[in-house]
Symmetry: D2
Subunit: 344 residues, 4 copies
């Protein structure tokens, strides 16, 4: 089969590789029909994630068709359409029983990281019963693939961790794919105001179209305070991963408010506890558990969520090298999510 | 009347001052029968709290008897015994309606800070209806005074903010008065293990007597991980207020765990988001709201709480200068809480 | 002034009465600009609420302008536009501190019940600081009056008590004004499906227009089970107040589901605990607290709620006798909410 | 092997039966060391549970040693000591993922009900990975067996469903085994008062010893209201299963309070919604999920729970017929829990 192979920092190729086969009785083999590229994949290519070794097949998002299942797999049969969770979970360990699949003792984020991933014609999915979700009939696979990672991450780590609720004023710092996924799923909880902060005018325009009530491009702390009559926001979501954007969140959260960190950070940040100790704030961090995938699927099926609006580019799966190039210049290319579709 | 007057960093005296009188129709005048000294009072004496101006009467904890009430006070009459909350609250503003009295727009922490306090024979309490609590008959005033600040702070900002729950492993970093108040009130929620961390052997001995299941004096991170089979703790309470002790908390919290900051910090801390972003942790800060005073009074009356065990020294109110001297050498004097009793 | 006077079962009139005046320093006098008629008012007219004595001025909903305030009122000044809560609350008692205003020891539902109400040119509002809400500039009074009672009741007692949440299947039994208020506010929490049950085709049509995803007119239990593949619903809201409609809710709720009772019941119901004891269900009852009025006002101001869609008839305040006649034949007249507007 | 065989209403015997064997790869065979008799077993013997067919081996509580495991069992090995949950759960279905194991689509309460149970020398446990719990070293098996059903039921369906919390006034109606299990586990949440209601003086005496602060034997509604200054209780737990005791709960719950039904009811009850509709109460029903077994094991291991105090009689496993006779006359025999110990 063909697959996207990582060859160390900066080097990758769409190459011939052996088709994966069942290794454990709980495995399934999935033929990929749709996949996408995550910001994390770019980090891997830069060499920022040393646990990813050369030779690894990348990708942790995907939709496909069950090709084969191990003998202990009970929930799936060949031919069924499935959504692949970016998180592998056994369903039995103490963390899984608390729905903290991100910390599964027999899984977690391993696809395209510690084992071969989904940017390939076929992928092996361990712990298949707990790590795959049946696609309801009629659901568009090109849209459903957004539920592998980005939508649950925005929803769980941004919106739910931030405890966004009815009537809130919410600020999302960063209008990239993940910030926009926060925006899309924040609507579920009916905040009164959603202020989107970014430096890219195009992304702010997209945010406006997706329901942001205010956008801020310059001097964000001053501007957000102005918009909130100096009260600050109920919830600030950090969706970038830099000390500067984390700082903005610290400066705009009101007493009793929440900061939800979604950005992936490479170094420590300065936490202004000398000012915040008295402000009764809550700060949460997290890797997605994807325990809300079933809810998101129901919502998608009910026509109450349209993550397809995040897709700016659609290419064939074997054009994935070009897709990486475009996504690597996301700002210039006005790219948000790259959709990759396998030929049938 | 006599009162403890602050005269700028390092200078204070027990001096004659005019008795306070009703200024607003919502005020009450309380004759103090019992008060105590808070660690914050020592910070003020060091000059760390510049908002406290020379001439200010200190103290924000106390029990006493209503002497006089303004004409709009409905809940209290002269002669009634009352507990004074360290937090003044109007009960009407948006924060008060959410029980966030610490952020009351017409109050908050003002006693012994922005207005004259409770280390005096008499004190004026603004917003009396919402800032005083009737003492149930039979309750010991010398014990009840622990409910003005330290018990609610330990309970609300340490234990409740840390979401301590049945079966948890809890670490409290700092076994001073506030850490011990966390310990006393943590029992309400039945954690399985309570690990107390401090460098003072005497305080750890007190902690053991108050129900700590483990105490740690040296090499705290390594030792706590050892005690938890390298899993870390469900909840870490920071009860000191230094970057070093905050760091311990960051290093021992397990995935999905909680850090509750109770310590008063004078400078920023380094937050290890590069490691914690993936650990799904919750960090909370806060100034006490004292909204749990009614619960704590019920619990005290039911005989299920014994905060009197925190009192190591009992003196007469007019010996308060000596009490400050002892409390200023708390470690050497083995002092935890200083009780000051007015002569009748 | 003119007011709607109750003269015992079936008898009422729009008559000249003395203008109310300040009785307590916490009172305010409000000049009514908009009011409406509640289903409860019809119950009173039938004699079902014996606590309402002849001579009482009816009405507990209204918007108006502050005419005069008592000397202890701090939050309002003459000339300000206010929304009147149907619930009077002191803000100080134990229930108020828990935001259970319905059970305020110095208030609760008293307007148009135990004291004179809002279907009048002027009304006296006790405990004004806690029982009135400032109308933000630009808000339409004709719409805001829906926030006195019906919207908070649907929201708090139907939707919040039912714990409607993302992806849920919700059934609302009864598509009268209160059932439709449940429907309007259920959208805040993004259920996947909302099934509306009623016997009135017109009301079901209105429900469809307000976002019901399914409507059921006949054989409701069988039909709802069919629509849910025999699983039942996550939440069933009883919005009628009869044993038969309560029974429907018991029969359609799934294991782990919620029943929220909003209907006003005159007699006991049979609770099928012999079947439900094993189903892990939660049943809640309640009188509205109106603690969510501030949230609803923010949401209204943000353009995310349109309760004006419930208004089917708009009359002048002095046409209120005719409004009662129309509302008394709600089904035939296709009446949902009657708006009454004072002449300026 | 020997086992307790049900032969239809009133008939049972300790008889020779074939040893169970692995039927599914997810099964385990457990050699029973300790078991007990549940009130439900008496209901079965009376013929109240028609799903139990003659020939069935009874019992759903037990501790034992793994004898053999199917090839898909990953968490257990022969020789390990295990606690058997009364609830079988697959861990994969939608209900299991919400920790609602009682409603597992591939399990639920089946032991000693739909399949052979634990009152036998050996038992087959389906879905072993999710339905068994490892016993920590040092834990007394005679005590741990109380965690199969009665302690989790009291804890989850009584105490947690009743939302018992710090400072509450709690009434438990019924001081039989399950009421006393509610009492033991209520202490975890530190209510201020626990009022125990029963007609059996001996059981009330036991309740007093286990920490009830008040006991009530006669005229319970009047007496509980008296004890609560006519306020009623925050939480009422129904632990009997009769209309009369359900009625007591309805009459003593205060506004905003909770009723948790633990009793097994054979017929409908009258729900006084005409009085309760306005009282903002919450009523919950439920079959135990046993999702708190891990917490209870930790608490037991930490020495913070002593369910052994419920055991009034200890017999050998082959004396189980006599144990049934004693338990059938529980009041006269002063029996609470019967412990049955297998010979080694």
């Amino acid at each position: 089969m063909k697959a996207l192979v990582y060859h160390g920092p900066g080097k990758y190729g769409w190459e011939e590789k052996p088709r994966p086969s069942i290794q454990e009785p709980t495995d399934a083999i999935v033929r990929i029909t749709h996949t996408t590229i995550c910001g994390t994949d770019l980090h891997i290519l830069k060499g920022d994630v040393p646990a990813v070794r050369p030779g690894r097949l990348l990708g942790h998002e995907g939709v496909g068709v069950i090709e084969e299942v191990g003998e202990e797999v009970e929930a799936f049969k060949p031919g069924e359409r499935v959504l692949i969770s970016c998180i592998t979970s056994c369903g039995r360990c103490d963390f899984c029983r608390k729905n903290m699949y991100a910390h599964c003792r027999n899984g977690g984020w391993i696809l395209g990281h510690l084992i071969d991933g989904t940017q390939a014609e076929f992928v092996r999915i361990p712990q298949a019963d707990n790590s795959l979700y049946k696609l309801p009939p009629g659901l568009d696979e090109a849209v459903a693939v957004m539920l592998s990672d980005i939508l649950p991450t925005g929803h769980e780590i941004g919106v739910r961790n931030g405890e966004v609720k009815l009537g809130d004023t919410l600020a999302i710092v960063g209008a990239g794919p993940i910030g926009l996924a926060c925006l899309l799923t924040a609507h579920f909880y009916s905040p009164a105001e959603i202020i989107m902060v970014d430096i890219d005018e195009n992304r702010l325009e997209v945010a406006r179209n997706l329901g942001a009530t205010q956008v801020v491009r310059e001097d964000p702390v001053r501007r957000v305070l102005e918009l909130t009559e100096n009260e600050g926001v109920d919830v600030a979501i950090e969706a970038v991963g830099l000390p500067e954007t984390f700082d903005i969140c610290q400066s705009i959260v009101k007493p009793g408010g929440h900061i939800a960190n979604v950005g992936v950070h490479g170094k420590p940040v300065e936490f202004h506890i000398e000012a915040l100790w008295i402000k009764n704030i809550t700060l949460r961090t997290g890797l997605v558990n994807t325990d809300t995938i079933p809810l998101l699927l129901k919502t998608l099926k009910a026509g109450r969520l349209d993550p397809g609006r995040l897709v700016t580019h659609s290419l064939k799966l074997d054009e994935i090298e070009r897709a990486y190039a475009v996504f690597g210049n996301a700002e210039r290319e006005k790219a948000i999510k790259m959709l990759l579709v396998a030929a049938h």
